[in-house]
Symmetry: C2
DNA sequence: ATATAATAGTTGCAACTGAAACCGTTTCTT
DNA sequence: AAGAAACGGTTTCAGTTGCAACTATTATAT
């Protein structure tokens, strides 16, 4: 009999953990702000500064372009972001938070940061640092790192 | 302007990492064995021994019961697992790998273990151990640990 | 210059998933 | 013992997602 144990298998554990954290986190904004995960990603990305294209958000977040397209559409409908067609390249749109989008994000941000802090507190400083280092190493190994372009 | 950076945010990074690893891993068995992730979880769980109920697999893998139900159905159709109604409790079914299910898993197992080993090699022994410890700590904190019952 | 290819973003479609209602069986309450 | 509640597992339904085909625009090749 093979002694394989799924619950000891790292990819599985990582996946289960990420799902749980994602789930907990999204409850922070789902009901209260009526945004879902892709929308959160768009808002959070734009919070770092305006002028992003959908393509850049796709690259940065590694989310499928159709998913980002729909999130952008929804946020635009609600007036939380604004899209202006680029004059240099009419295929693309420069995205940016509107006033109300920025206000919403300012309300959201501390909740989300508190959640992360709570998690890290549970880990303790040393383990939290080591976790971050391991993640960074895997990101590099898997070519997930530093796709930010601003 | 807020200095929040999604790509530095741990829940996001964990999620992106888990998605990438899951994706890479599932290419190992998707085309070749025509099984998907829930089906892989059922097979892998049963590889540790027969007699599991769907409920136990749900608890162990933290996968939704309707998802497990469908995976079990599909695997049974293909003759990879067998379900026998429990005599003590006719609501439940004792699940087990069939001969061909066991053969398939024996073929699959080394691929999957090699993949994990490749990942850990990229991390190095020390970081791999620390990652495991951090994950274990988070599992405990989030109540994800040790739901195995056999 | 013109045809071809590549690119940014959108959309139709099929597959997948979770919530909730459901069925049959078992357990609890009285 | 009878009715209610709980439970294991299934199914329906609605929502979400990714793929692939599409439109419009820009870049490349000849």
């Amino acid at each position: 009999m093979a002694d394989f144990k799924l619950t000891r298998f790292l990819p599985f554990r990582l996946n289960r953990l990420a799902a749980e954290i994602s789930e907990e986190l999204s409850t922070l904004y789902a009901d209260r702000f009526h945004i879902d995960i892709p929308q959160w990603r768009v808002l959070a990305t734009l919070s770092a500064g305006n002028g992003w294209t959908a393509k850049a958000i796709v690259a940065s977040t590694r989310t499928h372009k159709s998913t980002i397209s729909r999130a952008v559409e929804a946020l635009e409908q609600r007036g939380l972001i604004e899209a202006v067609q680029s004059s240099e390249d009419k295929r693309e749109y420069r995205l940016g938070l509107t006033g109300s989008g920025r206000r919403l994000f300012r309300e959201l941000e501390p909740l989300v940061l508190d959640y992360q802090k709570g998690l890290m507190d549970k880990l303790g400083e040393t383990k939290a640092r080591r976790l971050e280092q391991a993640i960074a190493a895997l990101e590099t190994a898997l070519d997930l790192a530093g796709e930010e372009t601003g």
